[in-house]
Structure formats: structure tokens, C-alpha cells
Symmetry: C2
Subunit: 175 residues, 2 copies
DNA sequence: GACGATGTAAAATGATCGTTTTACACTCCA
DNA sequence: TGGAGTGTAAAACGATCATTTTACATCGTC
């Protein structure tokens, strides 16, 4: 695996497991088995490493939710949680840890959330045959967000509950 | 205001605004305008200070959701966000920052979430006249959790969307 | 066969971390 | 009146922080 890829995927794992601030660069160099000189040549700084981790995760997440139904959307989330673990949304966690004061990180978070909302809008619009208002998309977004959070302490079952709740809302909107 | 109260409320504000790990004890002593000697006499350690902040917040939050309808529950959340700001659930943020590895903190988080779920179960059971299954309570919990997260980037409007979604689900269950 | 790129190991940078210590001032109650 | 309790200011603790530097090894390529 190429050096920068290894660095970013190692960083993503450590940030997700232990938190962004709590993960020191020493631990990172050790886990990625590279010198700090190499790390800084590729990463630039810790802040830009976090931003790189987030934009990489954004792409991977986008691919994982390339679906065209609300049911499949929550199915994709369940699959994501199975392979990536459930420790809450890494974007919101990055936002919280930095207080939203780091522009590069805040931008990555808002970009990600905007694209998630857009994706859900498209899916909902298809499923309701254009009968939906924009509130319905927000409600599905909230169920998605809530399932991500609740899965931390209630497990994957929470995602299935959100899935059926979403289909009830969609059904209701179709009438 | 009594010293320990001032310490804990100052700590809660800084932790919420800047994150737990990123908030140093120096900044805390300065903000609470007390010496580090006094701070450590009352707090013991940073970890136990975080635990104290969380248990204090838990009590205050519990009081704020002393309601008996799902509609009022989301109304209470909207009010909470207005007065306390919306930076996501402080409990889940504490859990994420510590990786769940600090027993006192993890316990405070799970206790809080278990009590939230219980409260929702009671409300839902009343509103559905006992007709509800346990999945419905989980769905309302997910909407509550999702509204808390989504409000970070979509504002208080998200809470009202969750509110109407919850009432639709309740209505459906009553049939 | 010299060169630029890419890597390593390891020490040093100055700042900041959480925590403890030393030394001193005030108040309240016996 | 004197001692326990509660506070302050400020320095010191060793550890760790993100980052840079020095010195050296290994490449493929012209």
C-alpha cells in the first residue's frame, strides 16, 4: 500500500477509536510504522491530516450509500456499521472536538452533511413520485442521524427501527 | 455562587464549547477564576471533573424533559437548545473523545441514555394507551437523538421536523 | 556512477499537558 | 487567642504535545 494511503487509513482508525485530540502524532507514527519526518512530508500538519481523513471518509461513505430507496439507505448504514464499527458520526465528532473553530475541518463537515441531505432528497423524491415536501427528506435525514447515534449504545437494532420508521413516513406521504 | 458549583458550570461550558481534551486545566482555572490548588481540592482530577459535569447535566436535562407527551418532549428539546446551544449530545461527545475507555465517563453516558429511553417509553405508553410496542419508543428515541445531531448543522427547524415525524408515528400506532 | 527522490532513526525544539507543592492571607468558631 | 478550614499566587513536576532538524540509507534513472 502506498505511503500516504497507509497514513490516512491508520489515522482514520486511530481518530475513530481514540478521538482526534487524544491521538498523538507519536502513536500515529508508530501505528503507521513510519518516521515522523515522512508523516509530516505527506500530512503537512495534524489539522490537514484530519481534513484529509474526513474527505477520504466522505468519498468512501458516499460510495456506500449509492442506493435508490430509503430502505436500501438504512441497509447501507447497517452494513457500514458492521464493517466500520459504530462510534457515532466521525464528522460531527471532529466538529465537536475542535469547537467548529478550525475552518478546514468545519468545511469538511458541512460539505459532507450537505451532500448527505441532497442524496436523501433525491431518494425521497423518487420514492414518493414527487409528492414529497422538503420536510420529509429532513425527517429521513434525522432518522439516519439518530440511528447513527443510537447505534452506539443500542446496537444495530436501532438502525432497523429507524428503517421501518422511515418507511412508515414515506408510506404516509404517498397518500 | 458556591465554589464547586462555579467550577462545574464553568467546566461544562468550556467542555461543551471547545471539547473535553482540548480544554486544559489552565484555561479552566482562569475561566473559573480560582487557583489550580482549589480546583483540584474540589475536582480531584480532570476525569472526575468530567464525570461530575456529566452527572450535573444529566439532572438538569432530566428536569427539562419532565413532560407527559411526545409533542412536549420535542418542545422541551427545542427550549433546551435555545438556552444551552446546539453542539450535539455532550454525553456522546465525551464517550467519543475518551474512546469509551474511561469507566466513570462511560458509565455516566450509559446511565443517561438508559434513563432517556425509559422516560420515552413511559411517555409513548401513555400516548398510545398501552397499544405501543417497544420499537415505537426506540423510534422516538432515534428521532430525539437525530434532532439533537441534525440541529448542529440544520438549526432548530430540525427539531420541529422530528416533532411532526414522531406524532405521525404515534398516530399510526394508535390505529 | 552521480543524483534526486523517498525513506529511516533519533534527538531537539519550545509549548502545553495534568498535577503537586511551597508559601501566604483570610475567616469563623471554640 | 489560636487553630482548622478555605482560599490565593506562583513555581515546579515529569510527561507529552506537534513539529523540525540532523545524519544516514536505499532506491530508480539519466
Amino acid at each position: 500500500m502506498d505511503t500516504k494511503t497507509k497514513l490516512i487509513s491508520t489515522a482514520e482508525h486511530l481518530f475513530d477509536r481514540h478521538g482526534f485530540t487524544a491521538t498523538g502524532m507519536d502513536r500515529l507514527t508508530q501505528a503507521a510504522s513510519m518516521s515522523s519526518r515522512t508523516l509530516y512530508k505527506h500530512a503537512g500538519s495534524k489539522t490537514s491530516l484530519i481534513a484529509d481523513v474526513l474527505s477520504g471518509r466522505h468519498l468512501r461513505f458516499q460510495q456506500s450509500i449509492e442506493v435508490d430507496s430509503v430502505d436500501a439507505l438504512f441497509g447501507a448504514l447497517e452494513k457500514w456499521v458492521q464493517t466500520e464499527g459504530c462510534r457515532g458520526c466521525l464528522f460531527l465528532r471532529a466538529y465537536g472536538e475542535t469547537g467548529g473553530d478550525t475552518p478546514d475541518i468545519a468545511k469538511a463537515v458541512f460539505t459532507h452533511k450537505a451532500s448527505l441531505y441532497e442524496k436523501i432528497q433525491k431518494i425521497v423524491s423518487i420514492e414518493t413520485h414527487g409528492k414529497s415536501n422538503s420536510e420529509l427528506a429532513e425527517q429521513v435525514l434525522i432518522l439516519f442521524e439518530g440511528a447513527t447515534s443510537a447505534a452506539i449504545y443500542r446496537g444495530a437494532e436501532a438502525i432497523r427501527s429507524a428503517q421501518t420508521a422511515a418507511s412508515v413516513l414515506i408510506q404516509q406521504a404517498r397518500l
